[in-house]
Amino acid sequence: MPFLDAVRLALATIRVQKLKSFFTLLGVTIGVMFLIAVVSIVEGMGNYMENEFIGKLMGVNTFELRQRPNMVTGNVTRETWLSWLRRPRIRVSDVEPLATQLPAGTRWAHTSTDQVSVQSRYASPKDLEASAVDGDYFTIKRLDMAQGRAFSAQELQLGSSVVVIGPEVAKRYFPNLDPIGQELRLAGRPYTVVGVTESQGSIFGMSLDQFVIAPYRSPLRRVVNPPGVVDAVIFQSPTSEQMAESMEIVRGLMRGRHHLRPAVEDDFALQTSEGALAFFDKIKANLVAAGVVLPAFGLIVGAIVIMNIMLVAVAERTREIGIRKALGAKRRDSLAQFLVEAATLSTVGAAIGITLGIALAQGIAAATPLPASVAPWSIVAATLLGAGVGIVAGIYPASRASRLDPIAALRQE
């Protein structure tokens, strides 16, 4: 069967009947457009999570020891939540015994964070996230300084009243001033700014540059946590294999320190960036499902429209079908002709939809904090879907064409 002829014929039909074709293809175009846009945005969020967000929040080959997970997959029941709250806290006294048992090259840090009122001579008080940290915190978190410096070993050791702040904090509290050496008050106590980090950008519109970090032994520790307690201990291994090994060591040591019997579950959480990703993947699956189901209605409407148009085309071109049959077209030739025509029509609709969908996704990415990334698989899927919709919609009209009696068809005016 002349496949290319049928494709050419279908394209010629579209060109000749622009307005009719526009309405014919509208359903498929809109369906595919939203499919591409939604998938692009979900995919963009996914890439963002994997490449930026996780790196920023967790760091590479890093795991955290916490009392309870701070990123949770699925629903947590009230009972579970309460049992987490009853767990013993992670203590600063846990850090040293763990760190000494881990393979050489393993970095550690610990952090305790809370909302703290921050104020300077140039700005009114406002609650900000303030962390009291120790260890290789800046290295593990990949926080580079734009101005000034990180804490010295001595400052960490002595608990000096110094802070490193995010660029947004610097801008708000020291407008048009050099923040280095200035005084910043945390919960009423004075600290000296020694460094401003580089911008960490934002996630979904939330700035990552609004934070204050002080040494653990500074007075801040008494504000953010009860005495001796830390929120999380962070370990970074040189390789992912060593990370797995280190996690088992930490697990064993912590169970020992908490006197857990073998059958009892862990009363602490070991959280990895993979775990956080799994959490996001679950959200992503739901978003993709929603993003696929809604445009599917558009495609169903599109299929019905195409079926109608093809029935009209078969009726209008009965004589042509008769001529072709008289000249030797078999049933499957007539069938193929109209199937290819329907598929071509809806593939063109899908192609337009893909273009518009990409434009829509880019537009949304530009106008809102949502990132967008066009997934190659979604283009392939949309194209196949377009052709598939056309074939499904074309089956009934095409089979009617193929069953026409050539004599009756030739007699048609």
Binding site: R319, A326, R331, L410
Partner: protein, 271 residues
């Protein structure tokens, strides 16, 4: 070399009686040999028109040799169109046998009939039946498309066929850019492009003025002289005059068969 069968020489009276026609068909043998391009035996075709049975063919016997130029005549309602559809493999008889080029067509299924139409029959219609949106070249290519001929070969053969009917200059014109006579010549080129056993023309001059009709008849004449079997259905004596043999159909059976010089006057008289 004589291309006309002995029983059908213009000088002879032809097959005037039913018995004579039966004899020829019988002589074609149980399985007709190569010289017989068409043999029908006791062809019957009836339609159910809302409970009423219309008997369009009631036992037609025809034998046509290769290279004959035959006109089939008959008043309307004589079964002429039905016979043409059966001979053209667009329809199958309810009873009887139809042999085309050594193949028993009367028992074939749809797709086999499509293949036979493609290979053995070149149609020329009263209304030309060209695809309006396709160029002359593409129209002529169509039978080759369904024969599975490659695109290059298709172009070459379609161009040749159009040159044969003096339309080599009009390859890329659409039907609405051509005159009636030119359209019918495109249709003839399309009919010939796949080298069919028979050229089957249904009132080929019905939509043409008399001058153009003569032009088309000249083309048929040349084709017949080149050895192409031509079967032409017509109700116009002037057109039937061009054939070497005229078969008259009346009430679904053959009522006369012979050279135009004898049959046409008898037909006109009986009308």
């Amino acid at each position: 070399m004589s291309v006309t069968p002995d029983v059908l020489r213009d000088s002879e009276p032809g097959l005037a009686t039913t018995a004579e026609r039966q004899a020829v068909v019988d002589r074609a043998g149980q399985t007709p040999g190569r010289e017989w391009v068409i043999v029908t035996r006791n062809l019957q075709r009836h339609y159910d028109m809302g409970g009423e049975i219309v008997r369009a063919l009631r036992g037609a016997n025809i034998a046509i040799r290769r290279n004959e130029y035959v006109a089939i005549m008959g008043p309307s309602g004589s079964g002429k169109s039905t016979l043409m559809n059966v001979i053209g493999c667009l329809d199958t008889p309810n009873e009887g046998e139809y042999w085309l080029n050594g193949q028993l067509v009367s028992k074939m299924k749809d797709d086999e009939l499509a293949r036979v139409r493609n290979k053995e029959i070149g149609f020329v219609f009263q209304t030309f039946n060209l695809l309006p949106r396709a160029t002359a070249l593409h129209n002529v290519e169509l039978p080759l498309v369904y024969a599975g001929v490659s695109s290059e070969e298709r172009k070459r053969r379609a161009t040749e066929a159009l040159e044969r009917v003096q339309l080599g200059e009009r390859l890329h014109h659409r039907p609405n850019e051509l005159s009636g006579g030119q359209r019918q010549r495109v249709a003839i080129a399309r009919a010939l492009v796949n080298n069919p056993s028979i050229l089957l023309a249904d009132e080929p001059t019905g939509n043409l003025d008399s001058k153009t009709s003569e032009e088309i008849m000249k083309v048929f004449e040349e084709l017949a002289q080149q050895g192409q079997t031509v079967i032409m259905v017509t109700h116009e004596p002037d057109i039937a005059q061009h054939a070497r043999r005229v078969v008259v159909l009346r009430d679904g059976v053959i009522s006369n068969d012979g050279p135009p010089s004898r049959v046409i006057p008898e037909y006109v008289q009986g009308h």
